[in-house]
Symmetry: none
Subunit: 296 residues, 2 copies
DNA sequence: ACCGGCCATCGCCAACGGCGATGGCGGCCT
DNA sequence: AGGCCGCCATCGCCGTTGGCGATGGCCGGT
């Protein structure tokens, strides 16, 4: 390992600031030191990372590619430091949870609140990801617990059923389906849709359902949160498919209508996934027990 | 940041080896240095990470929790270093691409030209294969990236959608279908066909479509390139099925006519396949990013 | 043409960190 | 029981690393 965390910090700071001088200031040092470290870094690997000019610096292609990885390393290192600090303050544990947006919006707020109230000495770190990323992160020990809809096939992880999650159609009151208590997804395909993350499981479900109906999914707008979906739907830009619990919060305030989906795939079961029960830390196991023991 | 990558390495090595002395040996240093660094690490955050005894060390709960995170940081740092090395010498390293004939004729010329212009230091090695061979080559690491129409079922490879590919009937102006803007494949089955590789996906599609129509595919001539198909068609030896983009180049010069196919299978989606994003070399990833980032 | 901002280089020096020796501790074998 | 061995912590020594400030070259804007 011929580089240092400080090297990475300086590199990121320099590319972000666009200037070695600014980076030095931000990192509480002087430009000459930064210049040297960066030059040495480049020399050590025989690769130009920065383009120097009299008005600052810009990353080369290699530098740009490196930037992302450097940020990832620094982020992880930062988390590690936080965790260390936590231990010195008497914290007894820290659990890293990756969850999909449905779980985060619907179930985790209350579940985590009660858990943290019962275990103030445990810190929970929560990040939102799409299901495939979650499984990967858990498999690679970047997360202790994952909450997702379905494990990717072939995954070696353990999956424990968590909650039921019902998807509903979200429409404006003036939509033709608004008066119906329920509808098939196929009936909704005439409308434009407002979608979520292109790589999310929900998106995939909708695409497949449309394909099975032999019709295209008219997806014009893509956003990344349920409230954004609701806002788009309220604005008349299309209709959406979101979990019932997420819909409930918005139907009243925005005057929208939730229509039950009759398709089988609209009933999803969320799962908690982990590498193995034995590999869980004490804190993680406490959280797992809490999540699975709660009345749903 | 009060710790160092080397601290983490030593910490991981020590907990794995169960002994500071062993860790020192593994890391090519001496025990005293390791002992000091670990003590300093603990002192810096006021947390005991290791339990010392006369027969070695064992991690405390805090240390155990830290272990996973430290590994994650080191893993990412290792990736970063590998990438750096890749840039120094690897960018001279080649990217091996296996692609089917459709991709090679329709999309790769311009895509590769712009890529090589942007990255003159990267060599791209391109071979034409049929889709099944491509998937196999990628799976066996004989190729870095594959471009094909559909992955064989059961394949463990990652497939990323690439481009749309529309197949058309290529006929002479005096053919009965030449006056039609579009036709079903079934209507064309009266004619003789000029075919491509007997084992290619395109050939397979045609065979299956003919079988579904309950009629034989009258295939007399088999060649291995689109221009050969065109020449055969122009010579009146039959009609052909090739991608629209490939047809465009010849319809004018040879006085041929492209007739749209009405069958659903004529709209294919090409995919880029690879083992996993993580296993890609830096150069391969650059090419992948380039291909997926291009406007289609 | 000057000035200001930028980066690279150089010499200086402090501090960090590795090294080897030493000492204390506990278990194990004889 | 006594000696021995392997372990880790501590200490002083010293080489290297790395920060600092000054200097100089470069370019663009005023």
């Amino acid at each position: 390992m011929r580089f240092d965390l400080k090297d990475l910090e300086l590199f990121v700071a320099a590319t972000e600031a666009g200037s070695i001088a600014k980076a030095a200031e931000r990192c509480h040092t002087v430009a000459s030191a930064v210049s040297k470290r960066l030059s040495d870094l480049e020399a050590a690997y025989g690769t130009a990372l920065l383009l120097r000019s009299s008005k600052g610096i810009a990353p080369t292609a290699a530098g740009l590619a490196l930037l992302g990885r450097a940020r990832a390393v620094l982020h992880q290192a930062g988390q590690l430091e936080q965790e260390l600090r936590g231990y010195s303050k008497g914290l007894r544990g820290r659990v890293r949870v990756f969850a999909n947006i449905s779980a985060i919006v619907e179930f985790l707020p209350s579940a985590l609140a009660s858990f943290l109230a019962a275990h103030p000495e445990i810190e929970v770190e929560l990040e939102e990801r799409v299901s495939t990323d979650i499984a990967e992160a858990v498999a690679e020990s970047r997360a202790d617990l994952g909450i997702l809809s379905e494990l990717p096939s072939g995954s070696k992880l353990v999956a424990i059923p968590f909650r039921e999650d019902e998807l509903v159609l979200l429409v404006r009151p003036d939509h033709t389906l608004a008066a119906r208590g329920s509808a098939g997804f196929g009936e909704a395909l005439d409308s434009d849709f407002v979608g979520l993350h292109t790589d999310g499981a929900l998106h995939y479900l909708m695409l497949r359902a449309a394909a099975e109906a032999g019709r295209p999914l008219k997806l014009k707008i893509q956003v990344t949160s349920f409230d954004a979906v609701c806002a788009m739907v309220a604005a008349g830009l299309g209709i959406g498919v979101i979990p019932r619990a997420a819909a409930a919060a918005y139907t009243a305030s925005l005057g929208l209508v939730a229509v039950a989906l009759e398709d089988a795939w609209s009933k999803r079961r969320l799962h908690i996934c982990l590498r193995s029960k034995e590999s869980l830390s004490a804190a993680s196991r406490l959280l797992l027990d809490h999540l699975t023991g709660l009345p749903s």
